[in-house]
Subunit: 355 residues, 2 copies
């Protein structure tokens, strides 16, 4: 089904207000979720609503908790998100990084006390929409074992980079640094597919490509696990570590004191996040940069494909296509996603837009 | 064979002086190569000498070309390396990043006009030795096709992060973002091994795991290729792109104008580099950070191994072991590496230390 943007916006705003958000918080929350929906990532937009209600019921996040700047320097800051809404603290932190980048060339904001902030590229795009290069990375629920290990100590640790490319679709990288995201692994279990390699470890410590050995409830986006996800080899583990070190250890979100690995059902979560903005104008003429970026996109998109591929695809191209389509014809959501979101809204007493 | 550190230092210094370096340049050059040798990465230390002579003969790099700061901001700078020695311009750029980090929290230096700078982690470690977090990444000779493509447009684009861990071995990540480095691919061809996946593309556009289909001279570290290396799937391509965008496009090193893919023999090279330093003290008490990092290393190193693995290994641990051994017993180099280096030295008329 297709829903007009303003109707979805009104749903998200009503949802946030009902949960205690003031007008500004509600608007920020709606902007973040809509950015995901419009780019075709409804699991980080409308799909979040039922999950958010659970987190609220558990007291794990709330509106009205203003992020606090703990340490402030010309190009960097440490922010405490106070376990408020991840979308609110994330937007605040990236705004701060952008301000610092415009003054100093780069802004680097480290956030502890965060919460699920949805789509990592949301914040990178926030900077890109101001003409800057944006980066964001996050830790979160413990799901991933170290390479060579069997117990989960890490989140899937997503990383994102958004770079404007003049009149071409921007390059937007947004990916879990583990071999697979939780969402894709659950989906593979649901569909009975094997993974493309030994990307899971079972409770006996065996590496496997069979998601049904590890995912206990394939109908649950946050399924309990008998085992853990894995990085993609030692190199993938390096990427997981880069995010862990920059987003969690540096912020002080995680001290590794008296910890025990999660059991796959009761997961600890460590939401440390990093927000980086880079002011292109401090390095070269933005018009020249735009020209180079455009040619890069054109050159690669039109380069010769390998056998078995139709073309070379750049990160962010598919999302840009979805965006054009969604803005022209209303935002596409799956029927069951709408039903789940509507049910969560009704539970809270949020008025549903007519669709 | 084992060679004492001061003898190697004297060889490198003599080498640099003979090639026109002043005393300070020669000392910097020797420090960079020794750092690689001591950590067991002699391919980026002694192993570079014969290759450097080739690059000098071709006029591709030279001493005496002082890097120039083109744009300067409180936390960022754009530096032109003037195609001088990569070790000299890299050390200069990281020194600048460290200075900016100590003033602003983070320093981000983008370098164009660079050259082969050896071991990426050399510069990250340079920052780490001052108690900061260091990062470095580089582009270079065109060897890697985009995922889904068949023509080489990218370098193996290494990335490095070095983080101090108190009394424990520091975490030092240093890796090609392509599925394999050129060195490992050549070695696999030499030893007749298949790669662990379809990590190469041949001239017909077929993805293959057989290095002998692509590497034309397995005895040559910089072998000509019939085809290209590949990223590790779409996610690996994302990593290659992150380095390309931050290290090359941002610096203006590469404009993507009127370019054609290399033919596997005559490779273009685009040496753009990024140097990042982060001052831990601007985010938390460095002693607390050291404690958390120590516990992270201890926790992961002692966590349960999966079946088929002896233990969980952290990046940089093996290099730290090699370092202890080399500092105690003299630096280990392979006999043929020494012979090749000695031959290059004799060719230039550099005095050889007695070994």
């Amino acid at each position: 089904m297709r829903i007009e943007e303003d109707k979805l916006k009104s749903l998200y705003t009503g949802f946030a207000r009902k949960l205690g958000a003031d007008g500004r918080e509600a608007a920020t929350f709606a902007t973040c979720l809509l950015r995901a929906d419009i780019r075709g990532h409804t699991t980080q937009g409308m799909g979040l609503l039922p999950y958010l209600v659970e987190l609220f019921d558990a007291g794990a996040m709330a509106f009205g908790r203003a992020p606090e700047i703990i340490r402030d320097n010309p190009a960097s800051a440490l922010v405490d998100g106070k376990r408020g809404m991840g979308q609110i603290s994330g937007t605040f932190a990236m705004d701060l990084a952008i301000e610092k980048a415009c003054a100093c060339g780069i802004g680097f904001v480290s956030l502890r006390g965060g919460a699920d902030y949805g789509m990592a590229s949301n914040y990178a795009i926030q900077a890109m929409e101001q003409g800057l290069i944006g980066m964001s990375m996050s830790t979160g629920p413990v799901l991933v074992a170290p390479w060579g290990g069997r117990d989960a100590w890490f989140c899937t640790n997503p990383i994102s980079l958004a770079v404007p490319a003049g009149s071409r679709d921007p390059i937007v990288i947004d990916m879990a640094t583990s071999a697979n995201s939780m969402g894709r692994t659950v989906l593979a279990a649901r569909d009975g597919h094997k993974l493309s390699g030994r990307q899971l470890v079972d409770t006996q410590g065996n590496y496997t490509d069979d998601p049904t050995q590890v995912i206990l409830n394939p109908m649950d986006r946050e399924s309990p696990m008998a085992g853990a996800l894995l990085p993609d080899g030692p190199k993938g583990f390096g990427m997981v570590l880069i995010v862990e070190l920059l987003a969690s250890l540096l912020s002080g979100e995680r001290s590794w004191q008296d910890e025990h690995p999660s059991d796959g059902v009761n997961r600890q979560a460590f939401y440390g996040q990093t927000f980086i903005a880079i002011d292109i104008a401090k390095f070269q003429d933005p018009a020249e940069f735009a020209g180079s970026a455009e040619r890069m996109v054109e050159t690669l998109n039109s380069s010769r494909a390998a056998n078995g591929f139709d073309r070379v695809r750049l990160h962010g191209g598919k999302a840009a296509e979805a965006m054009r389509d969604n803005l022209a014809h209303g935002i596409f959501v799956r029927d069951e996603e709408w039903q789940l979101a509507a049910s969560a809204a009704r539970k809270l007493g949020v008025e549903l837009p007519a669709v």
